[in-house]
Each structure stands twice: as C-alpha cells, then as structure tokens.
C-alpha cells in the first residue's frame, strides 16, 4: 500500500512520477479520516493540502523538484501557520489564526511538501502524555488504551499509524523523544540553535527545540535537512551549516565509542526496557562500536532543576496571553485586572496554570536565589557532567524513558509522577545537546521500547549515522501496529 513506504521512498517515487502527489495526499487524508478516533489531529487542512498537492504535481511535471516536493507531512500545532488555525492544544488559542508562518513551516513549504494538518499536543507542550490537550487525549496506535507520550503525541500517533510518513515536533524536556519511544518511532531533538524557534509558540525559550518525528533515521535526517539552518529571525539560531545527507547517515560506526552512564541503567528502570536497550547495544558492538562505562553523577538533580527553569521561563513567556492582543478574552470582566485574571483562568488548563504558578513562585521576591539561581547552577553542573563523559566517549546511550507507554489516566492525578517520565531526557535539554530516540524492541505487552542516543553539541551526524546503520541490521523501525 502507498502508506507503507518511507518518506524518502515516497519522495523518490514522486520524483520518478510513479505516483502523483494528488493521489498520495488523497490517500493520506482518507486515512486521517478513517482513523480519526486516534484524535491525532486538531486541524485537517484538506483544501490546502489538495491544492498544494496539485501545485507539486505541476512542478514535478515540469521536471522540477525541491527536497520534499509533493510529500505529505503534518505539523505539531505549536508551529504558527498563516491562515490555518494554530491552537497549541489550548482553549486560549482555540480560534487563533496566525498572521505569519513559523520558519520551520516556511522551510517545508519551500521544500515543496504538502501539509495535511496540525497535530494534537499537550497544552502549550506541557505534559508527557498528551492528556493536557484542550482537544482531548490521543490514543497510542500500539494500544488504544495507552498514551502516545507527549507533548508531541499527535505527531507521534499520526506517524505510528502511517497517516503521514513524517511530522514535526518540539522538545523542551523530552517531548519529541518520549513520544517517539512510546510509539516505536525515530525522533530527533537537535542541538539547541540548530532549528529556528521563530513562530514556534514559546514554552521555555532556553530549552525549546523543534525536530522531526519519522519512522527511520534516514527519514529524520531528510526532515532535519529541511528544517535546520541559520535564521536571522531567531536570535539564538546557530550560524552553522547543516551537514549533508551523506554525512548525517554515513559517519562511520566502526570505532565509535558509546558511553553507558551507570545512572541510566539503574535498577529502578523497567527490566524489559533495559533488556531491549542492551540487545541493541550488542548490535552496535557487532557493527564495530565499543561500549564504555561513564557516569553522569548529577542526573537525578535534572528533574528538580528542570521543574524550576522550565516553569520560570513559561511564566514569563505565557504572560503575553492577556485577553487583549490575541487569544481567549473573558466575557466576564468589568475592570482591566478582571480581564487579565479571568481570561487567563478561563483560557489556560490546570497543568499550564500549575506551571505558571510554580514559575511565578520561583521568581518571586525572596525566593529567586533559593530556586531559580540554584537551578541555574545545577544546570551548569549537569552540562559539565556531560562534557566530562564525552571525554571518554562519542555518543551516550541509554533508555529514552524508564517505562513503555502507560495507560491513559494512570498519572493524571499526580503531576510529580508524570514529571519523572522525563528523567533521561530533560538533562539533554538543560545542556542544549542533540538527542535521538529510536525503536529497539518491544516489551511482553507488545509495546515499543526506545533507545536514546545523546551526542556532543552540533553532532547530530553521529547519532543519525549510528541509528541508520543499526536500522540496516534490524527491523524494529519497520514494525507496524495491528489494524493500520
């Protein structure tokens, strides 16, 4: 079937004109409709997609093609799209239509891809299960009673169910890698500054980074090529060229030193997860990589540190939602203060409010040193731990998440239990490093297990190459959930 093909194969079939973009886009839209109970999409842009497909076909007929001409993809609903609803999973932006495109959206438009729609997500990307979305939970295609992970849960579910071959996500503390792990996908959080944040609705600006969610490292590399690059509109964008595909996928694995932090192989991690991770490390050894023991001694401080820094930045970023310039405005306000307080109380969901309150508390007079400053110091300690570990190895490996996908509703009443999901991912954001999650097997319940590879700053090539070469030897990334 058409949807079985990878993003790269579809791109090549379109170029060879074996299929048309109109036919492929129609097929994707039909599948989105057929599997609408997954709730993977907030907005489906059928007419926009069909006209982009027609334009792509005309371009291909002229023998012209961009990087992804005619290939359908989906954007996480955190990326602003001109003329198409951008909700960020919130009631606050339920009716928001952006006056401009995010740079990432523009990149995919320039590359000729077809945007099927906007995917569901945790509200303002705050969550690890997609359950905080104002538009409802998303089902995991591997088991509809389980979460797809979050916050990029809709993108992950859409790719895992073969509705699209690739989708964009964003990752502030694990929001690309954990859903990729829970849904059996390949998800890359690039180095901080690799992908423009312009037009990506801000959660925690020193941690946020956009990236691809796809089925294979090859597809993720192709999407990274499309998304990455210097953007004068983002003041933290790195002025560095993006490696070509041959470098991203062909860097030698033989001789690569993989570091295993003892803290990531702790006995508190699910035994089946560790077993599958170790199995895939044995494949890397067969490919000529060597395994070395390393330590990230302050990893456990990552969670408390992250849950000060991210909410503090969020409390500042989300102050822009005031009921005046855009977003929800309370009908019930006689005075300006009521307008602010009621618009925000009505427009934000509970988890977003909780994080704004924590962030405000941490930044408030008398608490700044004990919370925010302390967290910033720990952030450096964590970054230094990574730097020391990278003196002994090229790539750090371990589980992406301590468990496989958990049941819908299992952690919604306990925010702290939910936060602990990010234990292996959020230190990577604190240090600004690239991180990749790839599927490495299944537990006894048939749920995918994710392997995380963490690289040196701007060294996505070692991660994607190692993953690509592993994926030549294994077929975990090609498994398909039953019923799709």
């Amino acid at each position: 079937m058409l949807h079985d093909h990878s993003l790269t194969v579809l791109r090549d079939m379109l170029r060879r004109r074996e299929i048309s973009s109109t036919e492929l886009t129609r097929h994707c839209l039909d599948r989105v409709a057929q599997y609408s109970d997954l709730n993977a999409f907030i907005t489906v842009d059928e007419s926009g997609a069909m006209s982009a497909a027609a334009a792509a076909d005309a371009q291909l007929a002229r023998g012209e093609s961009g990087l992804l001409t005619g290939v359908p993809i989906a954007h996480k609903d955190i990326f602003c799209t001109k003329g198409v609803l951008t909700t960020c999973g919130s009631k606050m932006l339920e009716n928001f239509i952006s006056p401009y495109d995010a740079t990432v959206v523009e990149c995919f438009d320039q590359a000729g891809s077809v945007i099927i729609g906007k995917t569901n997500m945790d509200e303002f990307a705050m969550g690890s299960s997609n359950e905080t979305s104002f538009f409802g939970s998303v089902k995991n295609p591997w088991d509809p009673d389980r979460v797809p992970g979050g916050s990029s849960g809709g993108s992950a579910a859409a790719v895992a169910a073969y509705l699209v071959a690739g989708a964009t996500g964003t990752d502030t503390g694990g929001s690309i890698r954990q859903p990729a792990a829970f849904c059996g996908l390949t998800g890359l959080k690039p180095s901080y500054g690799r992908v423009s944040r312009y037009g990506m609705i801000a959660f925690a600006s020193s941690l946020d980074q956009g990236g691809p969610i796809a089925r294979s490292a090859e597809d993720a590399a192709l999407m990274l090529q499309c998304m990455a690059g210097f953007d004068p509109l983002d003041s933290t964008s790195m002025n560095a060229s993006t490696p070509d595909l041959a470098t991203l996928l062909g860097t030698e694995v033989r001789g690569l030193k993989l570091g295993l932090p003892k803290e990531f192989f702790d006995e508190s991690v699910d035994g089946q997860v560790l077993e599958k991770v170790r199995d895939s490390l044995a494949v890397f050894e067969r490919l000529g990589a060597t395994l070395v023991d390393v330590s990230l001694p302050n990893s456990a401080a990552g969670i408390p540190c992250y849950y000060v820094i991210a909410p503090a930045e969020a409390s500042s970023n989300l102050s822009r939602f005031d009921g005046v310039r855009f977003g929800h405005r309370s009908e019930n306000a006689d005075e300006l203060l009521d307008l602010y307080e009621n618009s925000r109380a009505e427009g934000f969901g509970e988890e977003v409010k909780r994080r704004i309150l924590i962030g405000t508390y941490a930044l408030s007079a008398g608490y700044y040193d004990a919370y925010y400053l302390k967290a910033q110091k720990i952030r450096r300690v964590i970054a230094q731990d990574f730097a020391s570990a990278f003196e002994q190895c090229d790539v750090i490996v371990g589980p992406t998440s301590p468990t496989t996908a958990f049941p819908i509703g299992a952690k919604t009443q306990d925010p702290v239990a939910m936060y602990l999901n990010d234990i292996f991912t959020n230190t990577v954001n604190l240090a600004g490093l690239p991180g990749l999650s790839i599927p490495c097997g299944f537990d006894a319940a048939g749920l995918p297990v994710g392997l995380q590879l963490i690289g040196k700053f701007m060294d996505e090539a070692s991660l994607l190459s190692a993953a690509h070469q592993l994926q030549q030897e294994t077929d975990w990334h090609q498994r398909m959930p039953a019923g799709y």
Binding site: D266, Y307, F326, L337, Y361
Partner: protein, 108 residues
Amino acid sequence: MLPFLQFPPSRKTVSISEKDVLRVAHLARIRVSKDELGRYQEGLSGILSLVEQMHDCNTDGVEPMAHPQDIQLRLREDQVTESDRRDAMQESAPKVGEGLYLVPRVIE
C-alpha cells in the same frame, strides 16, 4: 518514584499555604476560585517538595548557567526591519476599534 541510587532524595516536604497560592496567583494574573484553591495548594506543594531535592546537589563556586550556548547574543544593526502590519496583527485580536486594542475603562 524513580530516584537514582547515588542521589538520596530529600526527605523534606514543603507545604505552601492558601495565602501563598493566592499571592502567586495574583502575581501571575490568574483567578483561582475557592474550589480550586485546595487542588493548587496540593499540586504546588508536591512540586516544591520535588524541587527541594535540588539542595542535595552541591553547587559551591558554580557559576549559574542561563543558556545552553555560553556565547553573547547576536546583535544587529539598529535599523527598522519591520513594516507596518497593524491590520494583519489586529485580525487575531478579540476586540479592536479604530486600530486600537480595546480594554475595560481604566481612567474615569
């Protein structure tokens, strides 16, 4: 809970008062109703108890790190780069009139 073996979690639990919740909610400009107060109090206390574990990590003499790139932010020429896009920007505003954002009267 998933504590790492090397890192004894702090036993200290923090509880935040109703008054504190209301103070912070006011600073954040979020109305918190009486019915919600207990839930936020519980949620915030739980998070602060987690955050308390930061104090088990020694940071003596460590410089704070505000940003993953320890570099100066880029500066650009002091030139106007934006065109006037007021109308486009105000299309998404909930209430405007004559090119102005409308709010409840603040000055009598």
